[in-house]
């Protein structure tokens, strides 16, 4: 089985390096095909591993030592167990689809080969992340996906906004990564190892305070990657990247890494009282918060991105409440339908020549039938309508909250579910229904390549049927994760809840359709709604990006500049130059006492004599009074004072004599 593990892991890397070979050369279709093929290989290997794991086994290999010093020992170790194999499946499926899709999507792009290189590298990093058997290995993948995300967001590097977003994403993630590193440090110094098995086996021996801190730091790391508040702004901006990237990285896989971490580290989080509640609360808040921003946005991709953010909130709720398997399940289901949604959006963008404003579209269902169907179904899945995947995973989270008596969280999530349905279908309605507003802009939309649609098909299927796997999935993962059936006690309540939720969601969908399916004009920002404070607040993302820019970025920039110009140059450096300057200036000012005049030279000698004589007389008088020889105790401190004093005296004598000389000279006149 190890060979499959290595194939699954390294096939994407081979694909990436292969494409990189052609990185600088013009498009060669073969790179796309090879990279996709290799990913398929990876997918097949993962499937084989899955079947193996289903048999109740796990695979654990140690490839080689990475770092070993002192007591630290970190290998490149990989583990395929019940949790990681699920992630592997998700990653390989979605990425295979996205790769194939990208062959079409990036068809006309100059950076075709480069794109595949980056994309495959991302998959490799993601595989490292999920398969690693220790925290630092996870960190490798963690940073690797960050790097690839940076590369891919900034893929169109000539666009200022793209590169800005790339840097923002990278730096924001770095902030979280620091916390994660600190968490890793704490684990190492407290447990002496970073291997999952060792850590989880011994974590209970630590004091609760320490575990709490470890949990907090690791969670901050997770917050960065999964774009939780307050580190969420990068995700929406990351939509500057090519759409397949958004589908793969910023919807299906990378952003869920945070959830994966929490799920993976569940033995740690189980030990921390109240931490779970905090995570769940934050998750619920983010779910609502993100959904609210999606309500009014006029950027197709951003709406989906906020939706992703919102769903991540759901996952954290589940994870926080200890239902780790539920979180992972939603992660999986969400990966399928959200990737599908993004790829559909990609088709639309293609058709609309990269137009992102759904208000400028409308009626596209006529020309883009396939895309229309897929996006609609994906939205249905997202909204959680029975029997689509979303229903099984998302409603489960609601149940979890309810069963655990966190009614506030439950209500928030319920409300968010309505909002989700609303904004999803607002988008669908605006894009595919109503008048063909795009004609105003002279665009002639066309459906995407057929093979792209075919490539999307697996996701569509999974988005529809993923819920069916719930039983076997539960069997699989609960052998590793804490099990827990979340059933409402009374059947009646269960049905009321389920049907009630479905009805509410359907109502939201209907409302969205009613309001937007016959939209006819492109809003210009003058309507009363758009003028209202609430709208502006939401449209500007609660002014948080503005706040970050004004408070953090600008301050940092100003402070940096000030440190350089004011501190480094004017104080630190000037002090050094100042000391040198004083020495040199002293020389310049005093060397004129050597004025070449013999009389003055003789006078200097006599002055020296007189000064010495004065010292001598003074000392003699002193000695007479003391009636004994004066003994100076030779101690370092005394010498120090003396030495400094001497230098000062020397300098001041020089200065005084210089002044005396100049006064005399001027006094003399001519």
């Amino acid at each position: 089985m190890e060979i499959y593990l290595y194939i699954a892991l390294f096939a994407p890397l081979v694909g990436s390096l292969f494409s990189a070979l052609f990185g600088a050369s013009p498009k060669t279709k073969v790179t796309g095909i090879v990279a996709s093929g290799l990913l398929f290989v990876s997918f097949v290997s993962s499937s084989i591993l899955l079947s193996y794991v289903l048999g109740g086994h796990t695979v654990h290999v140690e490839m080689m030592t990475w770092m070993a010093t002192g007591d630290l020992y970190i290998p490149f170790g990989f583990v395929v167990d019940q949790v990681s194999v699920v992630m592997m499946m998700v990653v390989t499926i979605v990425s295979t689809v996205v790769h194939v899709y990208s062959i079409g999507y990036m068809d006309h792009d100059k950076g075709f080969n480069r794109f595949f290189s980056y994309l495959s590298a991302f998959v490799f990093s993601m595989m490292v992340l999920v398969m690693s058997d220790n925290f630092l290995g996870l960190f490798i993948g963690w940073e690797g996906v960050g790097l690839c995300s940076w590369l891919l967001i900034g893929f169109w590097y000539h666009k200022e906004s793209a590169t800005w977003a790339a840097n923002e994403a990278f730096i924001m993630n770095r902030i979280a990564d620091l916390a994660m590193l600190v968490g890793i440090f704490m684990l190492y110094w407290n447990l002496g190892s970073l291997q999952y098995d060792v850590v989880f086996a011994n974590i209970t021996t630590l004091p609760v305070v320490v575990i709490t801190w470890i949990g907090i730091f690791l969670f901050i790391g997770a917050m960065g990657k999964s774009a939780q508040f307050p580190l969420h702004t990068w995700l929406a901006d990351a939509m500057e990247g090519p759409t397949p990237v958004s589908a793969l990285i910023h919807a299906a896989t990378m952003v869920t890494a945070g959830v994966y971490l929490v799920v993976r580290a569940n033995p740690i989080y189980s030990e921390i009282p109240n931490m779970g509640l905090f995570i769940a609360s934050l998750g619920a808040f983010v779910a609502l918060f993100a959904a609210s921003m999606a309500l009014v946005n006029r950027d197709m991709k951003r709406i989906i991105a906020y939706s992703t953010l919102s769903q991540l909130g759901y996952m954290f709720v589940a994870a926080g409440l200890g239902a780790y398997w539920v979180a992972l399940f939603h992660l999986m289901a969400h990966a399928f339908f959200k990737a599908l949604l993004f790829l559909g959006a990609g088709n639309v963008m293609h058709a609309m020549h990269d137009e992102l404003d759904p208000f400028k579209m409308g009626g596209l269902r006529k020309v883009m039938k396939g895309t229309f169907i897929m996006m609609t179904l994906a939205s249905v899945a997202l909204a959680g309508i029975y029997p689509f995947a979303g229903f099984f995973s998302k409603d489960l989270i609601l149940e979890v909250a309810f069963v655990d008596h966190h009614y506030i969280i439950y209500s928030v999530l319920l409300f968010t579910a309505m909002l989700t349905a609303f904004y999803s279908f607002r988008l669908v309605a605006l894009i595919f229904h109503g008048e063909e507003r795009y004609k105003l802009f002279g665009i002639h939309p066309h459906e995407a390549y057929k093979f792209m649609l075919i490539a999307m098909a697996p996701l569509l299927v999974l988005a529809i049927i993923a819920g069916a796997f719930k039983g076997s999935y539960y069997q699989l993962v609960t052998s590793l994760l804490p099990s827990g059936e979340y059933h409402v006690h009374s059947i009646a309540t269960y049905w009321i809840m389920t049907i009630g939720t479905q009805l509410l969601v359907l109502a939201a969908i209907a409302f969205a359709y009613k309001k937007y399916s016959s939209w006819s004009s492109v809003p210009d920002g003058t309507s009363a709604l758009e003028q209202s404070f609430g709208y502006k607040l939401l449209a500007n993302q609660y002014y948080i990006p503005w706040f970050y820019e004004e408070v953090f970025s600008k301050t940092y920039r100003k402070l940096s500049h000030c440190l350089w110009k004011e501190i480094d140059l004017k104080i630190v450096d000037a002090m050094v130059d100042g000391i040198a300057g004083v020495v040199y200036k002293t020389g310049e000012k005093t060397h004129k006492i050597q004025n070449g005049n013999l009389s003055d030279m003789l006078r200097w000698m006599v002055i020296g004599l007189v000064i010495l004589m004065l010292f001598a007389v003074g000392f003699s008088v002193l000695a007479m009074f003391a009636q004994a020889q004066v003994e100076f105790v030779r101690i370092y401190i005394g010498e120090l004072v003396l030495g400094i004093g001497l230098v000062l005296v020397a300098v001041s004598v020089l200065l005084v004599t210089y002044h005396a000389a100049s006064i005399r000279k001027t006094g003399k006149g001519r």
Binding site: M67, I171, D177, V182, F185, W189, W564
Partner: protein, 510 residues
């Protein structure tokens, strides 16, 4: 030959430099590359015959020089110095191979070969005076390189570089003499042998004073805040090769000296000064990273980034445990590779455009894709991407210091954030966006000569990031000995607590 390998390594380049005067100036570069390559392979051979299981200093050579005063020609290597020596020979080779300078090339190559002698000498020396001799002597070729081939402010920069470091090292010399005198008072003979000094057990107050004296010499060399201001000038004005050698090797002398002198000789003082120095290191890390962010000149960005990374190295050294010290020594090598490569890269663009102002560029990624790629890889290495060489060092250094102070490490850890900020910003300014300047539209991508220097560095940066073991292992061995020695010598309770007792923990495991 094996037992004289170090002397050969030290004096071969110098001898070759003397003979180099005879070589015709058109063949000077080929000669230089040949000599440097031979030297490099000799150093690889040194690695090969180095016994990783052996303890203490290997290949020791001792010849009396001024026996009246306890000065001997005494050299040797251990895991700590071995790889820095190899790094030095490697960079000299790469540096000469990728030279694009045309003005008085022969002089430059001869100077570089002399410089190589001093660099190898510093790291191989086991006698403080021999160490000092090479330490000071290394200033001279560097002075010449900056002053003769540098930019418009080269003279100011070179004098500043020279005088600043010279002043610091003179204070260090006083410290060394006092140390030798203490040995005389204690043992009846003057001795400048580092091994003898390491065996001396000094009272704490002596340790503090001596630590201070040495500190000035080392700190200016590193350079630590607030003694760092010579560095931006030196880098800013130096020709590419000068910056490469300066950043890759010469700065390491300071940090190496901390490991070689300060830690084993003054363990108590090291513990006492740990936090003040950590504060300085943190200022170095954060402050210079911010200053780097404000720079307009790409070379200054890299220069300040050097200071910032050196801060991490210092922090790792003063972690005073195996993880930290090993990490910081590895980081010395890593930083050598990465910053050397970055300076080479800056040199590439400078050769083409004769400017280093970032505002002059933009969109280079489309004009020079290979250049952008290599720059990108090195930049990522510089910001500490895992699986690149820097990460291993930074991780271990910070990990080590975490044992000493949680809060400090948290603040110092912002290195990975602020480092990313200035590096990414610089990269964005240089490579992203559209080409706006007419001159940039037809820039030639990186050529064969330049690749010859850069490709090995890229390989090294990734190879050692993925598989650092062959280097980490010998370093680890020597560092363990160092830590054991420090713990044994520690007098104060604080120091005994701070410096881990390896012998005890080994027993616990069994």
């Amino acid at each position: 030959m094996q037992e004289h390998i170090l002397s050969i390594l030290i004096f071969f380049p110098a001898l070759a430099a003397m003979l180099g005067f005879v070589v015709h100036k058109d063949s000077a570069k080929a000669y230089g590359v040949t000599v440097a390559a031979i030297e490099f392979f000799l150093s690889l051979w040194l690695w090969k015959i180095y016994d990783p299981a052996g303890s203490g200093m290997q290949f020791q050579e001792l010849a009396p020089l001024i026996s009246q005063f306890g000065i001997n020609y005494f050299v040797g290597v251990d895991g700590i110095s071995l790889f820095i020596i190899i790094l030095a020979t490697f960079f000299t080779m790469v540096g000469i191979a990728s030279l694009t300078e045309t003005r008085r090339l022969k002089d430059l190559i001869i100077t570089l070969l002399f410089l190589e002698m001093t660099m190898v000498g510093v790291f191989a020396a086991l006698d403080a005076i021999i160490f000092y001799v090479f330490w000071e002597l290394s200033l001279v070729p560097m002075l010449y390189i900056i002053g003769a081939w540098g930019g418009p402010l080269r003279i100011y920069a070179s004098i500043k570089f020279f005088l600043y470091t010279f002043t610091g090292s003179l204070l260090m010399l006083v410290g060394m003499l006092f140390m030798a005198f203490l040995h005389y008072k204690h043992g009846g003979v003057w001795s400048f042998s580092i091994l003898d000094w390491q065996a001396m057990n000094l009272p704490v107050n002596y340790q503090m004073w001596l630590f201070g004296a040495f500190f000035f010499g080392f700190a200016i060399k590193v350079p630590m805040f607030p003694f760092h201001t010579w560095l931006p000038y030196a880098h800013g004005q130096a020709p590419t090769i000068g910056s490469v050698i300066l950043a890759a090797i010469l700065l390491k002398m300071g940090t190496y000296a901390f490991v070689r002198f300060s830690l084993p000789m003054f363990p108590d003082a090291s513990v006492l000064f740990m936090f003040p120095i950590a504060v300085l290191a943190i200022i170095m890390i954060v402050y210079t990273a911010m200053v780097a962010y404000a720079q307009e000149d790409i070379k200054q960005v890299v220069a300040y980034s050097s200071v910032s990374h050196m801060g991490v190295i210092i922090l790792g050294i003063f972690a005073l445990n195996v993880e930290g010290i090993t990490g910081s020594i590895f980081l010395m090598i890593a930083h050598g590779v990465v910053s050397g490569a970055l300076f080479l890269l800056v040199g590439v663009i400078y050769d083409r455009r004769h400017t280093k102002l970032m505002s002059e560029f933009g969109g280079l990624a489309s004009v020079m894709p290979r250049y952008a790629t290599i720059f990108g890889i090195m930049m990522m290495a510089s910001v500490g991407m895992p699986l690149t060489i820097n990460f291993v060092g930074e991780f271990l250094s910070l990990l080590g210091f975490y044992k000493q102070s949680h809060a400090f490490t948290l603040v110092a850890g912002t290195a990975i954030i602020v480092g990313a900020i200035y590096m990414l910003a610089a990269y964005k300014k240089m490579f992203f966006g559209t080409v706006t300047k007419e001159e940039n539209k037809h820039l030639k991508d990186i050529n064969r000569t330049e690749l010859m220097g850069l490709i090995p560095l890229v390989i090294l940066a990734i190879w050692l990031g993925v598989y650092p073991k062959p280097i980490l292992e010998p370093i680890d061995k020597s560092v363990k000995e160092l830590v054991v020695l420090m713990h044994e010598k520690a007098r104060t309770v604080e120091a005994q607590k701070r410096i881990p007792d390896l012998t005890k923990s080994a027993q616990e495991v069994h």
